[in-house]
Amino acid sequence: MDGAVRVALVDDERPITDPIAFSLRKAGYETEVYHDGESALAAFRQRPPNLVVLDIMMPKMDGLELCRRLRSQGIALPIIFLSSRDEEIDRLLGFEMGGDDYLSKPFSMRELLARVKALLRRTGAADAPGTGAGRGTVTPLRVGDIEIDTDAAICRRDGNSVPLTLTELRILSSLAAEPGVIRSRSQLMATAFPEDLYTNDRAADSHIKRLRRKLEILGDVPDRIESVYGMGYRIRLDGDSR
C-alpha cells in the first residue's frame, strides 16, 4: 500500500499555491497542484487524493461547483476550503459541508497544516470499521447527553453523530471543558485559531451559531450554548440552574 498521504491543492493563483505546496511537501505530504477546477476534477476522477485544499473563487469552475461534481460522482474527499469573501463563507454554510473545514484568507500556514492534519486523522477514523469510541486515547468529553469525540472531530448523541470543523471542535471543547464557565468571544477565537495573531471577535458568533444548529440536529436541548449578555458564551449542563 502506498504509504504517502496525497494532498491536492487547487487555486488559480501561483503565488498562493507555491508556498502552500512547499510547506505541505515539507510536512511530508505528497502534494499535487491544480490551477483550475476542471483539470482538478479530471485528475481526481483518475486518482482521488486523501485530501483537497480548495479555493472557492476560481475561473472556469469554482470550488463549490467542483465539490458538488465530486460529490455527485460519489467521490468523497475531505476538503478544506479557502476563501477571501465573507459571502463565500456564508454560501458554505448553506452548502452541506459534512465534516469539511474552511479557512479565510489570509490564513496562517501553521493553522492550515494543523487543519490538514486534523481532517486527515478524522477521516481516517471515519473510514475505520466501527465507531471511534474504543479507538481514542483521550476520553471523550461529555456534556449532558452530548459526547464530543475530539479525535474523530464528531459530536454524538443517542447514536447519531455530526461532524465538526476544527474551529467548531476547538470552541465546543473549550466550552465543554468547564461547563458553566463563561468564555469571552476573544478567548474562544484565540482557542479556535491558536496560530492566528489577529481574529475578529464577531466571527465567534457565526461559529457559535453553526454549533448550535448542529447540536439541534442531534436533538439536544435548545440553548445548550448560552449567550451571556455582554460577556461571552458558556455551555449549560442539564438541570444546571446557573
Binding site: 503565488p15 502552500i20 495573531l197
Partner: protein
C-alpha cells in the same frame, strides 16, 4: 399638497366672481333703460302735445284719452296754462284702475308673482345676494339727494310741479319722484308744452311712468345671474375636488414614497429594493413618477455597485495578502530550521520576517474594519433595535472590565508609565439614568462601549471611570463618559482621532485606524454624538450623547 388643492379652489372660485362683476354692469344697463324710457315718454308727450295744439284743449284731450283707453303704459295728464288738470289717462280711461295699480299700489308683490311665478326660493336667493351688493354699492357711491314722493300730484287739481312750470314756460320739464309703496322704483315725469300755432303756450302734457317694469326686468336678470353664480360655485368646488384628486393625490403618493427614504431610521436598502411606484399616467405627473423611478433604480444600482466594489476590493487584496503571508511563514520556518550553521543571518533576519507577518495581519484587520465601516449604515438599518436599559449595562461593563483591569497584562500600551499595572474601573451613574433606555441594538452599543473601554484599558495608568447622567441642556438625552488617567489626547487632535486612519496614537498595536471611526459611525447612526476631550488631570475622556426612549 393641501396648499395646492387650496390654490386650485381659489382660482376656480375667483373665476366665477365674474358674474358678480356683471351685476355692476347691470346698473349701467339700468341707466340706459331709463334713458330709453324717458325718451319714449317724451315722444309720447310730443305726439300728444302736437295733437292738442290749436284745438279745444280739454275736449280734445279727453277725447284722445278715451281713444287711448289705457293702451299706453304711461300715465298722461293734460293741464292748461294755469296748471289745472284737464284730462288724466288714469282717470278718464277704462284701464285707469290697472294703471293706478302700477303706480301707486303695492305692485311689487303682485308683479313679482306675475313675473317670476312666485318662486320663494328665487326670492330668497335674490335677497341673499342683492341687498348686500346694493349696500356695498350705496356705500361706495356718493350720496344722492332724497327724491320727493310720487304722491306729489295725488288728489291735486292744480298741478304746479317744477316740470309743469318749465313746460308752461315753453320748455321741457322733467322730474323724478320715488314710487309709493316702499319700492325702489321711481316714477319719471316729463312735461311737454302744448304750443299753439301762434307760438303761445296753451298748456302742457305731463307723461309719467314708473320704472318699475324696468326694475322687474332687471330683477329677472339678476336672478338669472345669481342662479348662474350658484351653479358656477358648485361647479368650481366640484372641479377643484376633481383636480385635487387627479393632480394632488398622485403627487402625494410620490411624495410619501420619497419621504419614506428620508425618514430617520428608515430602512434605506429595503426601501430602495422595493422600488418606486410608477404611475401609469401620460401626463406630467406620470413623467415625474417615471423619472423618480429611474432615479430610484440608479440609486439602487449605485448602492449595489458600492457594496460589490468593497467586497471585490477585499477579495482582490486578500489573495496577494495570503500569498505574502504564506511565503513569509515559509521563509520564517526555513530560517528557523537552518539555525546555527550560518551563524547570525537567521537571527538577524527574523525581526524582518516578523514585521512582514505582523503588517499583513494589520492590513487584513484594516480591511475588515474598512468593510465594516462602509457597511455600517446598512447593518444598523438591518439590525433589530430594542430599548436597552443603560444603567445595568454600564454596571456590567464596569464589572467585566474591572476584572480585566485587575489582571491587565497587555504590554501593548505605548504610554510610558502605563502598562502592566492593575487598573480599577469605577462607575458613577446618575439616578436619572436608571429610568431611561436607549433604542439601539444591544450588541452594537456594547461594541462601541467595549471599544472605548479597551482603548482606556490600554492607556490608563491606574483608573478608568465610567460616568453617566442626563444630557446637559437637552431633554431626552443622556450622556455617557468614559475617562482614563492616561496621557490623554493632544488637544488639537480631539476631532481628528475620529477620522478614518488617524494615526496619532498608532504606536500601539491594534489602535491604528478605524476603531473610533466605527464608534462614531454607529453612534451617529443612532442619532447621537461622540467627542473626546481631556480631563483636568490630563487623561482622555470620551463623551457620548444619545437620545433616550422610555423603559418598556
Amino acid at each position: 399638497m393641501r396648499r395646492l388643492s387650496f390654490r386650485l379652489l381659489i382660482f376656480n372660485v375667483l373665476l366665477i366672481f365674474l358674474p358678480i362683476g356683471s351685476f355692476l354692469y347691470l346698473d349701467t344697463f339700468e341707466t340706459q333703460l331709463l334713458e330709453k324710457l324717458e325718451r319714449a315718454m317724451v315722444q309720447e308727450g310730443r305726439v300728444m302735445a302736437s295733437a292738442l295744439s290749436g284745438r279745444d284743449l280739454e275736449a280734445e284731450a279727453l277725447r284722445i284719452m278715451a281713444n287711448l283707453a289705457g293702451r299706453v303704459e304711461s300715465r298722461i295728464r293734460v293741464v292748461d296754462v294755469e296748471g289745472r288738470l284737464l284730462a288724466d289717462s288714469a282717470v278718464d280711461s277704462l284701464a285707469s284702475a290697472a294703471d293706478t295699480n302700477t303706480q301707486t299700489g303695492d305692485p311689487r308683490i303682485s308683479s313679482i308673482q306675475s313675473w317670476t311665478e312666485g318662486s320663494a326660493r328665487d326670492e330668497l336667493l335674490y335677497q341673499i345676494v342683492v341687498p348686500p351688493v346694493r349696500r356695498a354699492v350705496d356705500v361706495l357711491s356718493p350720496p344722492q339727494p332724497a327724491l320727493p314722493s310720487a304722491e306729489y300730484y295725488s288728489g291735486e287739481t292744480l298741478l304746479s310741479g317744477p316740470e309743469i312750470d318749465a313746460a308752461l314756460a315753453g320748455r321741457y320739464g322733467a322730474a323724478t319722484r320715488v314710487s309709493t309703496g316702499g319700492q325702489r322704483s321711481v316714477t319719471l315725469y316729463s312735461a311737454i308744452p302744448v304750443i299753439a300755432a301762434d307760438g303761445s303756450v296753451r298748456g302742457a302734457v305731463l307723461v309719467s311712468r314708473s320704472t318699475f317694469r324696468i326694475l322687474g326686468d332687471l330683477y329677472s336678470l339678476r336672478l338669472d345671474i345669481i342662479r348662474i353664480f350658484a351653479f358656477s360655485v358648485t361647479a368650481a368646488v366640484v372641479l377643484s375636488i376633481l383636480l385635487s384628486l387627479t393632480i394632488t393625490r398622485p403627487l402625494r403618493k410620490l411624495r410619501d414614497r420619497t419621504e419614506l427614504l428620508l425618514l430617520p431610521g428608515s430602512n434605506l436598502h429595503e426601501a430602495v429594493r422595493t422600488g418606486y411606484p410608477s404611475l401609469r399616467r401620460r401626463d406630467e405627473i406620470g413623467d415625474l413618477s417615471r423619472s423618480l423611478q429611474e432615479l430610484w433604480q440608479r440609486l439602487e444600482s449605485r448602492i449595489t455597485l458600492i457594496d460589490d466594489f468593497s467586497a471585490d476590493i477585499l477579495h482582490e487584496v486578500k489573495n496577494p495578502l495570503a500569498a505574502i503571508r504564506s511565503s513569509a511563514e515559509v521563509v520564517a520556518t526555513e530560517l528557523g530550521e537552518s539555525v546555527p550553521s550560518a551563524g547570525a543571518p537567521a537571527a538577524e533576519l527574523a525581526p524582518f520576517i516578523d514585521t512582514i507577518l505582523r503588517e499583513t495581519d494589520r492590513i487584513n484587520r484594516l480591511l475588515g474594519e474598512l468593510r465594516e465601516i462602509t457597511q455600517i449604515d446598512t447593518h444598523l438599518e438591518w439590525e433589530e433595535r430594542e430599548p436597552v436599559a443603560i444603567a445595568p449595562l454600564l454596571r456590567e461593563l464596569a464589572e467585566l472590565y474591572g476584572r480585566r483591569g485587575e489582571s491587565r497584562t497587555t504590554a501593548t500600551s505605548a504610554s510610558e508609565g502605563a502598562g502592566v499595572a492593575p487598573v480599577t474601573v469605577s462607575a458613577a451613574i446618575d439616578p436619572a439614568v436608571e429610568e431611561v433606555a436607549l433604542s439601539v441594538n444591544r450588541d452594537r452599543l456594547r461594541q462601541v462601549l467595549g471599544n472605548l473601554l479597551d482603548n482606556a484599558l490600554d492607556f490608563a495608568r491606574a483608573a478608568i471611570r465610567i460616568e453617566s447622567g442626563p444630557g446637559r441642556g437637552m431633554q431626552d438625552r443622556i450622556e455617557i463618559a468614559i475617562e482614563d488617567d492616561g496621557p490623554g489626547v493632544p488637544p488639537q487632535e480631539t476631532e481628528r482621532i475620529f477620522h478614518r486612519f488617524y494615526s496619532g496614537r498608532s504606536e500601539r498595536a491594534g489602535h491604528d485606524g478605524l476603531g473610533l471611526a466605527v464608534c462614531r459611525a454607529i453612534i451617529e447612526g443612532y442619532g447621537g454624538t461622540i467627542r473626546a476631550e481631556n480631563t483636568p488631570e490630563g487623561g482622555a475622556r470620551f463623551i457620548l450623547v444619545l437620545p433616550t426612549t422610555a423603559i418598556p
